[in-house]
C-alpha cells in the first residue's frame, strides 16, 4: 500500500479518536485535534478569500477586463479597516450600516415571499369538496384529503395565536394557544426523530471507517491508536494525577 495512503488513514483514525475523546472529558488530545481543525479551517479560508474573492472577483475583472465599477465595493471593503484608526473609525460604521441595510432590504421581501405568500398559497385550499360530499370523493369512496385541509387551518391559526404578544394568554386565547403549542411540539418531535436518525447514520459511517481501518491491511490503525489513547488516559489518571494529589497533601 502507498505510504501516503497509510499515513492518511492513521491521521484520520487518530484525529477521529482525539475528537471522540471529548466524550470522556476535555483533554490534551481533544485540544490538539481542535486546534489542528481550527488552524486548517482558517488557513483554508485565507486561501479561499485570496483566490476566490480577491483575485477572481476583484483583481482579474478590474485589471484584465477593466471593470472599473468594482473600485466602489473595493473601497467600501477597505473602509472597514478604518475602525483601527480612532479618528476615522466612523467611516467603518457607515459601511456597516450599508451592510445591515442591504441585508434587511434583501431579506424582507424574500421572507415575505417565502415565509408568508408561499405558505398562504399552499394553505388556501378547499376545506371540503362540496360537490362530492365532505369525506367522499367523486367515486363515492371515503377520503381524508379534505380533513387534512381542516387540520392545517386549525394548526396554523392556533400556532399564530400562540405567537400573539399583544394579548394575555388567558381564557379562550390560552386554550387556542395551548392547541397551537401541541401542534408545534408534534412537528418538533417529528423533526427531532428525523434529524437524530440522520446523525446516527453519520456515526455509523464513522464507525464503519474505524472498523475498516482496524484491519491488518492498515496495520490495525484503529485498535493500536485506541489502546494507546486509553493507556495514556490511565497513566495520566492513576500515576500523574495521584502524584499531584500526594504532592499537594505534603
Amino acid at each position: 500500500m502507498d505510504n501516503t495512503v497509510l499515513l492518511g488513514v492513521w491521521l484520520a483514525v487518530g484525529l477521529t479518536l482525539f475528537m471522540y475523546s471529548f466524550l470522556y472529558k476535555d483533554n490534551v488530545f481533544f485540544r490538539f485535534g481542535e486546534h489542528v481543525y481550527l488552524g486548517i479551517s482558517i488557513g483554508y479560508i485565507i486561501v479561499r478569500v485570496i483566490f476566490n474573492n480577491f483575485i477572481n472577483d476583484l483583481y482579474k475583472p478590474l485589471v484584465e477586463d477593466r471593470d472599473y465599477i468594482l473600485i466602489i465595493p473595493a473601497l467600501m471593503g477597505l473602509a472597514l479597516y478604518t475602525r483601527f484608526f480612532t479618528r476615522i473609525a466612523w467611516v467603518s460604521r457607515v459601511i456597516f450600516a450599508f451592510i445591515v441595510g442591504f441585508g434587511a432590504g434583501l431579506g424582507i421581501p424574500r421572507t415575505i415571499a417565502g415565509g408568508i405568500f408561499k405558505q398562504l398559497e399552499g394553505v388556501l385550499m378547499p376545506l371540503a369538496a362540496i360537490k362530492d360530499g365532505f369525506f367522499f370523493n367523486a367515486d363515492g369512496n371515503f377520503t381524508l384529503v379534505n380533513i387534512n385541509s381542516l387540520i392545517i387551518i386549525v394548526g396554523i391559526t392556533s400556532v399564530l395565536v400562540y405567537f400573539f404578544f399583544s394579548v394575555e394568554h388567558k381564557g379562550v386565547v390560552k386554550s387556542v394557544s395551548r392547541v397551537g403549542i401541541y401542534f408545534v411540539m408534534i412537528a418538533f418531535g417529528a423533526s427531532f426523530g428525523y434529524t437524530v436518525m440522520g446523525r446516527m447514520s453519520l456515526l455509523i459511517g464513522r464507525c464503519y471507517d474505524l472498523i475498516e481501518f482496524s484491519s491488518p491491511k492498515y496495520y490495525y490503525a484503529s485498535i493500536v491508536l485506541l489502546i494507546m489513547l486509553i493507556l495514556v488516559f490511565i497513566i495520566y489518571e492513576v500515576v500523574i494525577k495521584k502524584g499531584e494529589v500526594l504532592k499537594t497533601n505534603e
Binding site: 485535534g33 481550527l38 445591515v100 441585508g103 421572507t111 415575505i112 391559526t157
Partner: protein
C-alpha cells in the same frame, strides 16, 4: 408464371405501402402554419433572454407535432436551427399574469444563439436577433411563420412581484401607525416571555459566581434577519452585563458580525456609563468553518465554564453539539432561534427557548422602546390579518373562488 409471382408480390406490397405512406402525408397536411408568431424581450427579468409566443391551434396541438425555431442575425438569413419543441410551454403567469387567455398561447424562451441544433457551445444573444417558426413532421418542414425580431434588455421593475411590494407598503404603514401609538402610550401591553425574564436571572447568577456569560450570534452573516435580531438582543444583554459589572464573551463565526457585535457591545457599555469596562477582545472571531467553530466553542465552554450560555440567531447541525456541552458544564442556557430544524434540540437541552417569532419580539420586550414595541404590535396586527385571510381564503377556495389564492401567488 410461378417465377413471376415473387415480383408480383413485391410490386403489390410496394403499392400498398405507398398508399399507406400517402395516407400519412394527407394526415400531416392537416397541420397549419404557425399563427401570430411574436418575439419580444422577456418581461420582468434581468435581461439575457428573448421570448417567443405563437397561437395554439388545435390542428398542431398534438404531442407528435414538433415545432422548429430558427434564428438569424439578419432578416434574410442565414438561418440556424435553435431548438425543437414537442411539449409546448404556455401559461407562464410570472411573465404574462394570470389571464385565462394565456392558455391560448405557446411560449418559448431563448437565451443563446446556436449554430446548429447540436451546438454544445452556444453564444449569448448580444444583438437584435431574427426568428422564424416552422411546423414539422419530424423530418420535413410543413410551413413557416413570418420573420420577427427582438433584442433583450434588463428590467428595472419586476411586475410579477408587485403583490409583495403592496404587502410591504401596507405592512410598513401598519408598523409606522403602531410606532406612533407606542410613542404616545409607552406602556403598551406585551405578554410575558419566560425565556427573556430568565436572561436577567442568568446574568445575576453569572455575576454571583464570578464567571462569564457566553453569547453566540448564530452562524449566519449580517444578511440574515435572525442575526440582526440576535445582535439587537446582544445590545440589551450587554447593557445589563455592564450594569452588573459582569463579563460577556462573544465568539463569532463571521468577521462582519464580529465587527458589528463589537460596536453594539461598546455602545451598550457607553449607555450603561461603563466605557472603561468594555474589552474589545471579548468579542472575537474564531473561524467560519461550521464544525471547527463548534469544536472551538465547546472547548471554550469546558475551559472557561461560563455560568450562562445564550444562543441567539440561526443555527445548523452544530446546535446540539453546543447546547449539549453547555448542559454538561451546568450553565443556565437560553436559546432563541427561528431555525425550525434546530429548535427541537434547543428545547431538549436548554432551560428556556425562544421559538421563531419570540426571537424577534425579544428585543422589544427587553428594551420597551416605542420603536420596537410599535413594530411588535404591528406584527401582531398583521398576524391577525393573515388569520382572517386564511379563514376567508379557505372558504372562498371551497366555494371555487380563486381570487384570494391568486393574490398571494409568488414567482
Amino acid at each position: 408464371m410461378n417465377k413471376m409471382m415473387p415480383w408480383f408480390r413485391i410490386l403489390f406490397l410496394g403499392l400498398i405501402s405507398l398508399l399507406g405512406f400517402n395516407n400519412d402525408i394527407f394526415a400531416q397536411n392537416t397541420l397549419v402554419s404557425p399563427q401570430d408568431f411574436t418575439a419580444f424581450d422577456t418581461p420582468n427579468d434581468a435581461g439575457g433572454s428573448v421570448s417567443l409566443t405563437w397561437r395554439v391551434v388545435p390542428e398542431n396541438n398534438k404531442p407528435e407535432v414538433p415545432y422548429l425555431i430558427l434564428a438569424a442575425t439578419a432578416p434574410d438569413g442565414p438561418w440556424f436551427e435553435q431548438t425543437t419543441l414537442v411539449n409546448l410551454k404556455s401559461d407562464y403567469p410570472q411573465y404574462f399574469g394570470l389571464s385565462a387567455s394565456n392558455k391560448l398561447w405557446s411560449y418559448c424562451e431563448i437565451t443563446d444563439f446556436k449554430q446548429s441544433l447540436t451546438d454544445d457551445n452556444p453564444k449569448p444573444i448580444t444583438a437584435t436577433t431574427y426568428f422564424k417558426l416552422a411546423v414539422t413532421d419530424g423530418s420535413k418542414t410543413l410551413g413557416f411563420s413570418s420573420v420577427v425580431s427582438a433584442m433583450h434588455q434588463g428590467n428595472w421593475f419586476d411586475a410579477s412581484k408587485i403583490n409583495i411590494l403592496i404587502f410591504v407598503v401596507i405592512f410598513s404603514f401598519v408598523i409606522m401607525f403602531f410606532i406612533s401609538l407606542a410613542r404616545k402610550n409607552p406602556d403598551l401591553f406585551i405578554r410575558r416571555i419566560p425565556g427573556l425574564d430568565a436572561i436577567e436571572e442568568a446574568i445575576g447568577r453569572a455575576t454571583e459566581m464570578g464567571k462569564p456569560i457566553l453569547y453566540l450570534n448564530g452562524l449566519d452573516g449580517m444578511g440574515s434577519l435572525s442575526t440582526i435580531a440576535a445582535t439587537s438582543i446582544l445590545g440589551k444583554v450587554a447593557r445589563k452585563v455592564a450594569n452588573y459589572d459582569s463579563q460577556i464573551k462573544v465568539p463569532c463565526r463571521d468577521p462582519i458580525v464580529m465587527s458589528v457585535c463589537q460596536e453594539v457591545v461598546r455602545e451598550a457599555y457607553l449607555e450603561a456609563g461603563r466605557p472603561d469596562a468594555y474589552n474589545q477582545d471579548n468579542i472575537f472571531f474564531i473561524t467560519d468553518d461550521q464544525f471547527a467553530y463548534a469544536a472551538a466553542v465547546d472547548g471554550l465552554m469546558v475551559r472557561h465554564k461560563p455560568a450562562a450560555n445564550l444562543y441567539m440567531g440561526y443555527y445548523y447541525a452544530e446546535s446540539l453539539l453546543l447546547a449539549e456541552t453547555g448542559a454538561a458544564i451546568g450553565a443556565i442556557q437560553i436559546a432563541g432561534t427561528d431555525s425550525i430544524t434546530q429548535l427541537p434540540f434547543f428545547i431538549t437541552t436548554c432551560d428556556y427557548t425562544l421559538m421563531g417569532e419570540e426571537l424577534y419580539a425579544a428585543s422589544a420586550y427587553l428594551s420597551r422602546e416605542p420603536l420596537q414595541t410599535g413594530s411588535l404590535k404591528g406584527q401582531d396586527f398583521t398576524k391577525g390579518l393573515i388569520i382572517l385571510i386564511l379563514i376567508l381564503g379557505s372558504l372562498a377556495s371551497t366555494a371555487g373562488i380563486t381570487f384570494l389564492v391568486n393574490l398571494f401567488k409568488t414567482f
